[in-house]
Symmetry: C2
Subunit: 204 residues, 2 copies
DNA sequence: TCGCAATGTTACCACTGTCAACAATGTAGT
DNA sequence: ACTACATTGTTGACAGTGGTAACATTGCGA
């Protein structure tokens, strides 16, 4: 266990440091210029050092995207209401948590769904993304069992739910859907529309 | 009017050529490496020539994104059904056209909604994007007047509709929502769910 | 016809991703 | 303890990129 004080030749735990530095850059770099050399620079290490831990830049980005999916899943799990009285009360907090995660970590969220880096992210993305998808899927399945949502292919309904929230999140990140307050009117209305589409119609 | 045959010193209409070449690259470059030098190369011109027509790379990308929005708007306008018998019949073809546009022009569609290039695209995007948004808005307004959709803030419902289709399109581009056939089951189901959320509930 | 503005080219700069060669360090086997 | 080796970090190079400045060529108006 080397002492951190005297900057030894070997960093000690450079891999983790690189990942954390990468997350930092994703967090405060609004201009999305993610350079491997900048990561190395911030980590106080030479520009080629990261290559001892990651085969190339895309690999690091994949790693970061993975962490992003993990965090998103945790955020959703943490937002799940305990005793929802209606489908709306169940879906709303999770949706808000999802959108909030996206607007709080715009660069990271974009990275998660970007196929721009040589298709790598997209390739490895399936499993983790589907883990998030499964949260929605479970929610709707239970709702269907409880008789609160329509009897339609669950997969299609989950797709609708995910796509809607995903779309809202990206529109919010892009500043098109005013993300002033997360609890803004269009957002609530959009989610309400989704819930109406899922729920079994009630007598007016 | 210079003859195109003998490659004069002055290209003649380089600006348009650059834009078209850019669109070509967007079309067949799946790997999303959009280099200004490659554009110049394909246009058969020196690597600095584009700077006489565009201040920088971002400006060209903004231009391309604009064209993308124009084309999307035209595609949607062309897909509008003539005499829809229901809200579903009205929304479905437009939605399919939207998703098809995205999956047919993945790189272009991504560019349209990417704020990665120095926020330029996002800044200039508003007007054109809202033009697309207005198509949805008009559709829902007319539906509300006709009494086929719920009386809720139109803006929120239009947001829901757009976000859902936008999300579906991106998920399809990312290959998460199997885009095998555009008329796939999850896609139809998702749109159906949307329509149910918009429409006034019918007696079962 | 002459001079200037527009447009294209060349040469250069800083920067990036990536690789090869080299240096320092930890560690296993004797 | 000593030595050979694998690990990890550094330096220096390469090609490719966005961008700028200086220069060349052309078209066009006075």
């Amino acid at each position: 266990m080397t002492d951190v004080q005297n900057r030894p030749y070997h960093h000690g735990d450079l891999r983790r440091t690189i990942i954390e530095t990468g997350l930092d850059i994703l967090r405060d770099e609004k201009n999305w210029q993610f350079t491997l050399r900048e990561v190395a620079r911030r980590a106080g290490v030479s520009h080629a050092a990261p290559y001892k831990h990651f085969p190339d830049k895309a690999a690091l980005l994949v790693e970061l995207a993975m962490i992003g999916f993990d965090r998103l899943r945790e955020a959703l799990a943490g937002a799940k209401p305990e005793a929802p009285q209606s489908l709306f009360e169940e879906i709303m907090p999770i949706s808000l948590a999802y959108v909030a995660f996206g607007t709080d970590n715009p660069a990271l969220y974009r990275l998660m769904f970007s196929a721009e880096e040589g298709r790598s992210v997209g390739m490895h993305l399936d499993q983790r993304a589907l883990a998030v998808f499964d949260i929605v899927l479970d929610m709707l399945s239970r709702g269907q069992d409880a008789g609160t949502i329509r009897k339609r292919p669950v997969r299609g309904q989950a797709t609708a739910a995910w796509a809607l929230i995903h779309g809202i999140t990206l529109l919010a990140i892009d500043g098109i859907l005013v993300p002033e307050k997360v609890g803004s009117a269009p957002l609530d209305a959009a989610i309400a529309t989704l819930v109406e589409g899922l729920a079994i119609p009630q007598p007016i």
